[in-house]
Amino acid sequence: MEKFITHTGTAAPLRRSNVDTDQIIPAEYLKRITRHGFEDGLFGAWRKDSDFVLNQPAYQGVSILIAGPDFGTGSSREHAVWALQDFGFKVVLSSRFADIFRGNSGKGGLLTGLVDQADIELLWAAVEANPALEVTVDLDKREVRAGDLTATFEVDDYVRWRLMEGLDDIGITMKHGDVIAEFEVKRPAFMPTTA
């Protein structure tokens, strides 16, 4: 995983609340067995509409998504994170994320910054006024900067550390293999097995 310290790019405003993972990546795309190439399914239903923000010429090449509250609700599909990343997004900002989506994002290396709705509104207005506006997401300082606007965002300490170090979860856990083995010895014998 690449280290994430700061990221600068352009941003797209997604003025919708309760964007569930079925909207982010419809179920029909989940049948694939590969890990990449999900960009074509991102916001599949909405992308058929030429007015949809990501279809507008002004928002091509964006890497930051500024979303409404309750982003990523619904099914736990991690493909939602992959689709956003495959499309080119490095960061999603929202005033509220669904837990599982947020967890999946941290692991996949997609930064989800929790920003006050008031600041989201300001950011929306700023990038709508000027879609080419450079937006910087500074994970070190937990800040979003766009023109003369500066907003802070919240991110879990541990997720932040991992993103900044570019660390893979499983590798971290496997270092504790001996502790896991000790725990296993003490598990009650009445617990079931599947074999």
Partner: protein, 465 residues
């Protein structure tokens, strides 16, 4: 210190705790299916890692399998690729699997409990958000993403941050005709689709204790639709009774040891929750959704809401969008909504008790003309039991279709779909736009309401017949 059920189960599974880091939690049971696992196994292969405890892992084929002609090769090439990948991965990594045609095959959340694999005090995970179902046994059970699936396969653990706890107290007696599904839809309408975020919900109170295990599973299943990570119900005699004698439940001296432990799990009387909700069971009635998220629900006797009733601008837009997508007019009685498809099944309501409730309503009646009704048992075992009880005959005599086990129209990854503009009454758990097929419109209902609706041709409860 007094602890809640969730906290007790959590504490019993902490493998490693370090300041500033998530707890490393041991996972007792890892359920796997064809949709969220291929990339996880791919990851293991790429890094040369093995499955640490294949005997704590179980795979089943459910999400996109066909519900007719199951012994023929799967026609859809992508479904076939996923199912084939699961079979190959399980063979390569030594994971037990229940494939199509096996008597234990079925929806992963139906299979675990019916085998007795889901037990109180366990941690259960699956790459599917409705893993919360297993919380009905007093297990801490939650959905995980594909990279977490890979993590559990490789280490049998997960790094997790503690959840907050919310008690949902449902006291009093449910009126006749009001079911577990109505309880859960009412809870979600009350706290909202984001209301449970960050919480493990614990359902308590006399109305919950009076529910069967099937009903409890329905309630816990839908916890995720309130945004919660998990739902739990304290184990009691009903739980023990359900488990006793099941294939994978402990037996003999082990049974006594297990029950003694399970009995320590219920929340201490003075345990504190981070939040509490109170619902008077006697005020509940059959509940249906009118919109495009499970929180947009109302009693069947109500009218479709109007954007003018919205509490704020976001809500107003949400109602407006939902009415447009659903093709509904504000103010019309919910009972006047005409339905062309009824789906009975899913991990929410695809168990034997649900099929009995449906058959009871269908018995001696015919579904409305032009109505398509699919009855899809949650597992092969459920199907066999229903057939032994003659429920399949009642279903078929009414004009409905009797299918093989699987997720089916719950998420429409197999050929069971709504066409654009079609409208269903569905016993599943999600009414999102396009969930049951692009452009399809879904009303979430209980099995009894589903059956009554099939007969009347519009949203209806058995009392309307």
């Amino acid at each position: 210190m007094a602890k809640t059920l969730a906290e007790k189960v959590w504490e019993a599974h902490v493998v490693r705790r370090a300041a500033g880091e998530p707890d490393l939690l041991y996972i007792d049971l890892h359920l796997v299916h064809e949709v969220t696992s291929p990339q996880a196994f791919d990851g293991l292969r790429a890094t040369g890692r093995a499955v640490r405890r294949p005997e704590l892992t179980l795979a089943t084929e459910d999400h996109n399998v066909p519900t007719i002609d199951i012994l023929k090769p799967i026609a859809d090439p992508i479904s076939k690729a996923q199912v084939d990948a699961l079979r190959a991965n399980c063979a390569e990594f030594g994971v037990p699997i229940y494939s199509l045609g096996n008597v234990e095959q079925g929806i992963v959340h139906v299979v675990g409990p019916q085998l007795g694999l889901t037990q109180p005090g366990m941690t259960v995970v699956c790459g599917d958000s409705h893993t919360s179902t297993h919380g009905a046994f007093g297990a801490l059970a939650f959905g995980i993403g594909t990279s977490e699936v890979e993590h559990v396969l490789a280490t049998q653990t997960l790094p997790l941050k503690p959840f907050k706890t919310m008690a949902i107290n449902v006291d009093g007696e449910l009126p006749v005709g009001v079911t577990a599904k109505d309880v859960t839809l009412a809870v979600i309408a009350k706290i909202g689709t984001g209301g449970g975020q960050g919480y493990v919900l614990e359902y308590k109170g006399s109305a919950i204790r009076a529910l069967s295990m099937e009903g409890r599973m329905t309630v816990c299943n839908m916890s995720i639709e309130a945004g919660a990570r998990a739902g739990m119900i304290a184990p009691d005699e009903t739980t023990f009774e359900y488990l006793k004698g099941r294939d994978r439940a402990p037996a003999g001296a082990m049974w006594d040891e297990a029950v003694a432990y399970w009995a320590t799990l219920p929340s201490d009387a003075d345990a504190k929750y981070d939040a509490e909700v109170f619902i008077d069971a006697s005020t509940l009635s059959p509940f249906v959704t009118w919109g495009t998220n499970p929180g947009q629900g109302l009693p069947l006797t109500a009218n479709v809401p109007s954007p003018a009733d919205a509490v704020d601008e976001t809500d107003r837009v949400a109602i407006e969008n939902a009415l447009e997508y659903m093709g509904l007019t504000a103010g019309m009685p919910l009972r006047d909504i005409k339905v062309d498809t009824v789906f009975v099944g899913s991990c929410t309501n695809g168990r034997i008790e649900d099929l009995r409730a449906v058959a009871e309503v269908l018995k001696g009646r015919k579904v409305a003309s032009g109505m398509r009704m699919l009855v899809v048992p949650g597992s092969v075992r459920v199907k066999h039991q229903a057939e032994a009880e003659g429920l399949d005959v009642i279903v078929k005599d009414s004009g409905a279709e009797w299918r093989e086990a699987g997720c089916s129209m719950c998420l429409a990854m197999n050929p069971d779909k709504l066409a654009p503009g079609e409208r269903s009454a569905s016993t599943s758990n999600r009414n999102f736009e396009g969930r049951q097929g692009p452009g399809g419109r879904t009303h979430l209902v209980s099995p009894a309401v589903a059956a009554a609706t099939a007969i009347k041709g519009h949203l209806a409860a058995p009392a309307d017949l």
